[in-house]
Assembly symmetry: C2
Homo-oligomer: 495 residues x 2
């Protein structure tokens, strides 16, 4: 299509960073989310679906600048009025709902939400500007029993979608023990947030890189600094060796039993009231989970979990898939994180002035779906339909009746509705539709009251096979009485 | 909350015209859409989920004006680049997909799509700016067999969600017979679209009001004009009496059998080639449907169907629910239309320059859901959870274990996670959650290895009942061994 000829034709393209989902891509995700929703429901969580559009004011975080407040969000101004924006997650709308309906909702309010969110970010490979989130939160429950419940429910949800026990672990830590750690190495004064703030930031970022840099790398960053492979130098947090050592020791305190981990943490944080409070919470969580049968093979206390430090105020958790997959370069690596969450106690306060305790988890829908596919656990796509071919244009009613008979027996079926002139095109169509069986009835067959069934799956196998020998007992094409259509197709499908 | 004290607190409100959906509102709709999707799949239709955001250019219809192209849509400009907008229906994105992937998709391409769409319109009572659509379309099938298939599938879908046979009818007409009618009364010259265009517009609008104004009202509008109850005068189309009569006769040609209707239309449109072509198409559709067992009790030829005249090019259809409901004023009226569609052959052409035949249907999700609720056919909301109350804060682990036992038996259950101090609040909570059973275990019960079950449904009935006599044999509260928890709760639920 040349530009000169048709300069005004619109481009048939999604906007950059957006994509379409076809067939099994839609139904696999849906089946996974349905299974998760069922688990959430069983735990007493209620569905909530907020609108995609919120006022920028209610979304918060992204405040309007002079002209356009669309840093990170898709936003627009109503004629001379409010700025509106697409939600960027499901938590900000929940906070708005919890404030708006605070007199009507039960307290605590357990809710789950599933749906797309939008980010106005630079798209990259595999990074889209619209994607699904799947959240469960409990609003209004101050007790860490609510956090324990979320962790247990997350484990149940992972198993419900097909991640086997042993293939995942939910790691739990607590923002308060990190605070305690910072206190004990002199990087935090709870009465003066600005004290050593820069050094604390460096230390926190170093801790966050523990997975990647390991013990010695993190120690360098905690002390004088570190030169990376490219020669770039990162300034350190200025701790001495013993202080740095206590940090890395802390990070490695995931011991064989939760009791040992808790005991170790209690020693390390003995001098921090905040830290010990966090350890106590973790101990309570571990006890509650233990009583429900969730041992450390499924949910484990692990102080190396570091999530959204500015956001969470208590327990934090992360679900990790522990089986290995091959990365782009063919190297084995652990699949990694598929969900995370924690306690955040300040979101509703923005609206009402009253602190409302809340905790929740967000499952990375695309990541988890990729894991299910990697394990062959994604819902099998619907089989292609039986295609009733059209040999005789005047007998469409007969073909439709055949398709209807098949459907009434629960078999997916359709009549070919393209141009029927070239029969080859009909078989190509059936191939594109991954059709298992083609039904054929020309004038001759009709006069004899029969139809021909073509086993397309067998046909494809024969085409791929080096030898026809193994197939010779099973004909790829059979003629049967019209009255046997449903039974014969079913037999072929079960073949 | 006074404005002086907290002037910068955001309002906890959805933007005007948007709303939130809670619990059963979400799950009822989902169950309905799931049932429809199953029918569509069975007919060989594939799921498609396009992004919510499209370029304004691809959406078409709403072309950018100088400043903001957001007439009717929510639109915004990417930094100095494309204008983007939220989709306003599911057909425009389908046309874009059909063009973008034309070399990869099967031809014909049968797809269904379900999801929210957005309209930047003035909100009103019950009119929202975000709402669900549920579409099925066949792209690339020129034959009216595709239209017949859509009609049959629509009937199947309505029955699948719980609309009984006899409570709905799919009415089918054809844009071409309306053209033929206009030709035969001298209001259309197929070679000169501008000929009598104004009068034709008046006549078409009059026809569209046939339901409401009846025969004599429409005749007036077709002739000299009509004064309404308020005294306003609407100019007529200038037909003479015989011409007007032929129009109203046409509109009333829905006769007891499709054969009679077709024969009647054929007489009325004898002088219009276009009209007769339309009648022929209707006859084919009726024959195809008849062969699949869809008689006029379910799908009927009805020339009074008038839909989106600028858009459709061939068969048009509308599903109507025929049972009566009470309107706001307490008057009985038919429930009315819940779905509509037809053939549109020009949408893909915008992108590629090549005409691509297409036909499809859109179900009004909110309307159909309202109908199911009116008939008591909406999916029953999930029962409220069994609430395990907290009598002893130190024994949370025991309470969690009880809830886990119940869930493992498939019973929805949760532990009360609010402040447990006041037991009355826990029962109020259970009431708000529509909980059927409260589980109670204080220190004394724990020491004896028992739990108390409170039948909250029975309790509510007793509270409403004038006499306690009828309940006396059924205690609203029982003490049972802890080991019998699951069995006893189940028995109470089955009550």
């Amino acid at each position: 299509m040349s530009k000169e000829k048709a300069p005004r034709r619109p481009r048939a393209e999604t906007p950059k960073g957006f994509r379409d989902y076809f067939g099994a891509e839609v139904t696999e995700r849906k089946a996974m989310l349905d299974a998760i929703a069922k688990v959430y429901q069983l735990h007493g969580f209620e569905a909530l679906e907020t609108s995609a559009v919120e006022t920028v004011e209610a979304l918060g975080k992204f405040l309007p600048d002079v002209d356009r407040p669309n840093e990170g969000v898709f936003a627009w101004q109503e004629d001379e009025k409010d700025w509106l924006a697409l939600r960027y997650d499901l938590t900000a709308p929940l906070a708005r709902v919890a404030a708006q309906y605070r007199n009507d909702l039960p307290t605590p309010y357990r809710r789950y939400a599933m749906g797309p969110v939008w980010r106005n970010e630079k798209p990259g490979p595999g990074r889209f500007r619209q994607f699904y989130q799947c959240d469960a939160d409990t609003v209004g429950a101050p007790s860490v029993a609510a956090d324990a419940e979320i962790c247990a429910m997350l484990a149940n949800a992972l198993e419900a979608v097909g991640i086997e026990r042993g293939d995942y672990v939910v790691r739990v830590s607590n923002r308060k023990i990190l605070d305690g750690l910072m206190e004990s190495v002199g990087l935090l004064d709870l009465n003066d947030p600005s004290y050593n703030a820069a050094e604390r930031g460096i230390a926190m970022r170093a801790i966050d890189k523990f997975d990647r840099l390991g013990e010695s790398g993190v120690e360098k960053l905690l002390m004088d600094g570190r030169e990376d492979a490219s020669g770039d130098f990162t300034q350190g947090a200025g701790l001495n060796y013993l202080q740095a050592l206590s940090v890395t020791t802390f990070l490695m305190q995931r011991l064989p039993t939760n009791a040992e981990t808790i005991s170790g943490l209690r020693s390390l944080l003995a001098q921090s009231v905040r830290g010990l409070e966090g350890v106590q919470e973790l101990e309570t969580i571990a006890a509650l989970l233990d009583a429900q049968g969730f041992g450390p093979d499924r949910i484990v206390i692990d102080p190396s979990v570091v999530r959204g430090l500015g956001y969470y105020t208590g327990p934090v958790f992360e679900a990790e898939l522990t089986f290995e997959i091959l990365d782009d370069k063919g190297n084995k690596r652990q699949f990694g994180s598929v969900a995370g969450g924690g306690r955040y106690d300040d979101l509703v306060k923005r609206f009402t002035g009253q602190a409302v305790p809340a905790t929740g988890v967000s499952i990375g829908v695309d990541r988890l779906l990729a894991a299910l596919r990697a394990k062959g656990r994604a819902e099998a796509p619907a089989p292609g339909p039986v295609v009733v071919t059209v040999m005789d244009r005047d007998r469409m009613a007969d073909y439709f009746a055949m398709a209807a008979d098949l459907r009434n027996a629960g078999i997916r079926a359709e009549v070919y509705l393209g141009n029927p002139k070239q029969f080859g095109n009909q078989l190509k169509y059936a191939d594109k539709r991954a059709s298992p069986v083609a039904v054929i009835q020309g004038t001759d067959e009709a006069s004899r009251g029969v139809v021909v069934l073509k086993d397309l799956i067998l046909g494809a196998r024969i085409a791929q096979s080096a030898t026809l020998e193994e197939w010779k007992d099973r004909p790829a094409q059979v003629e049967i009485p019209r009255s046997d259509l449903v039974a014969a197709v079913r037999q072929m499908l079960e073949g």
